[in-house]
Symmetry: C2
Subunit: 325 residues, 2 copies
């Protein structure tokens, strides 16, 4: 690769002039500029970004760090981020932490000392607070999907509202004994949705029976196992709410395997969409994942452009998708 020195030599000017020709063309005489540009075209020279970053301490790039790139929600957040970044001239790096706190720390570290400018960050599920690396860093970031403190920008879904939409729908259908297939109590996200269920069950005066709530990991396997339990123990719920897409998928599989008709024997509703071709169509709420990614990135760009305002938190409202009756 040609360097700025080569160009300077061939054009018969100093490196300083070449640098100026690139970064502030108006500051160099038209004749010189043309000569330099000719050489640049000829050699295909492009300034080395590494060297540039080292000097200017910025890299015109941001990263999105997500716990599981195959989770459709995360995927859409990424797509949302891409949509606003494309216009802004930033390069986007995606990193998959595979739900491992250790891998997450490594990734963050790595991004930092590669001079990433900013970060859209969906924490690993088990994180109860901001990783030290992040807290100590001076780079702007915005946290998506999990509340991890208030001294930085945060973009969240209104989990309570989401569960509320689902329970309200079931209640309006006259269901009374409604089970929950919930996420892990040890995580913020799981707790928040489970708690919403408990609160709302009382509020709607539905059957309030601890045996009706089953919690596990946010995985298809867990959904499958918990749904099986519910059926096996003859609790005969009239409806089931699954607190996440993977749980819903697992539950639906279980019911199908066990010959439980959905809907019919049982109503199933789920938090988050499960895919395009799910049959029968299942009533669910959708998070505005794309829009959340976009908004988070807008916040980030504002900070990158020097805006300093108090940390903001925004809540996106999930929307209900009713399956045709």
């Amino acid at each position: 690769m040609a360097t700025i020195k080569d160009v300077a030599a061939q054009a018969g000017v100093s490196v300083a002039s070449v640098s100026r020709a690139i970064n502030d063309p108006s500051s160099v005489a038209p004749g010189t500029l043309e000569r330099i540009n000719a050489v640049i075209r000829k050699t295909g020279f492009a300034p080395n970004k590494i060297a540039r970053s080292l000097k200017v301490q910025t890299s015109k790039s941001v990263a999105v760090v997500v716990p599981d790139i195959s989770n459709p929600f995360h995927l859409k957040v990424i797509k949302g981020a891409e949509s606003v970044l494309a216009a802004a001239g930033y390069t986007l790096f995606i990193m998959d932490t595979e739900e491992s706190a250790e891998k997450e720390t490594r990734s963050l570290r790595d991004l930092f000392d590669r001079q990433i400018d900013g970060l859209v960050y969906i924490p690993v599920l088990t994180n109860q607070r901001l990783p030290r690396v992040l807290a100590e860093s001076r780079i702007p970031f915005v946290v998506v999907d999990r509340a991890l403190g208030t001294d930085h920008d945060t973009v969240l879904s209104n989990n309570f509202a989401g569960i509320s939409l689902l329970l309200n729908h079931l209640a309006s259908l006259g269901k009374h004994r409604i089970a929950l297939i919930g996420g892990p109590e040890g995580t913020h996200l799981g707790r928040e949705r489970n708690q919403a269920y408990r609160t709302l069950v009382r509020q709607y005066r539905l059957e309030d029976n601890p045996a009706l709530v089953r919690c596990g990991e946010f995985t298809i396997e867990a959904g499958l196992a918990l749904a099986r339990q519910l059926v096996a123990e003859q609790l005969a719920p009239e409806a089931v709410v699954a607190a996440a897409n993977f749980l819903g998928i697992g539950a639906l599989k279980a019911f199908r395997d066990l010959g439980v008709k959905v809907p019919g024997d049982l109503e199933l509703v789920v938090f988050d969409e499960m895919g395009d071709l799910v049959d029968p169509p299942i009533t669910h709420v959708r998070q505005q994942a794309f829009e959340m990614g976009a908004q988070a990135t807008r916040f980030l760009l504002e900070r990158l452009q020097g805006l300093t305002v108090a940390p903001r938190t925004v809540l996106f409202e999930p929307v209900l998708y009713l399956a045709p009756a």
Copy 2:
């Protein structure tokens, strides 16, 4: 962030010693080493990778560049890459080119002058040959899923075999008039699968009627539209093969909307999986995406470790998943 100079000053040694302490501990006296390490721990110092890369022209990182991160096939290739990279101590960057050649070029450029060491590369669909940036670069890369030349490592699916499995299945079911919903003829991938269909139709002595093949983009919308055409034109195929997952999804939707029973009125088989919960279950072939990503990455690592052998091409066999009758 602390720099190596700070550490050197605090430890009362030269920067050279600190650098050595990090990169070749055995070369510094035990006492000094300990003193340096103490300071490093205290300050949380980590060498700036940017500066390091600039000097040593390597960055211990590789990238996976894919055209569409929400395509399950690409996703699994990424997961496969991750699985082998984790062990090797390389950082993985993921970039989504969104099926845009222009964006792809930018991304590749960007990666290069960030001193990426190697590349696992799934080209944008419309690329007929290796992008210039890549061809001219000196960094090792391996191309996945599309044949773009023979002077580099390539990892492919046996598309012919995949179509063959599907047609063979249909033929064994006694189907004779089999339509194809194919990909764009202007792309290598589309052409390859469509061509396989044409060849095999003759080979199996099935109805060889150009009106039975409909091609379009690899999208859900195209699948939907093409399936509608097939139904509308009363060609009455006994079976349909969709040449890709998105086409299959679209087709299934169309049939469902039009009240065409699958199976029953029509048999549908598709190249690639469509999702976990598709109902009814559809007979399809799966590419060994994860394994392909892993293999590609293994090839890459070998080159990164200095192996120089002739460029290799490996073909992975798709496997048939029969829907329960």
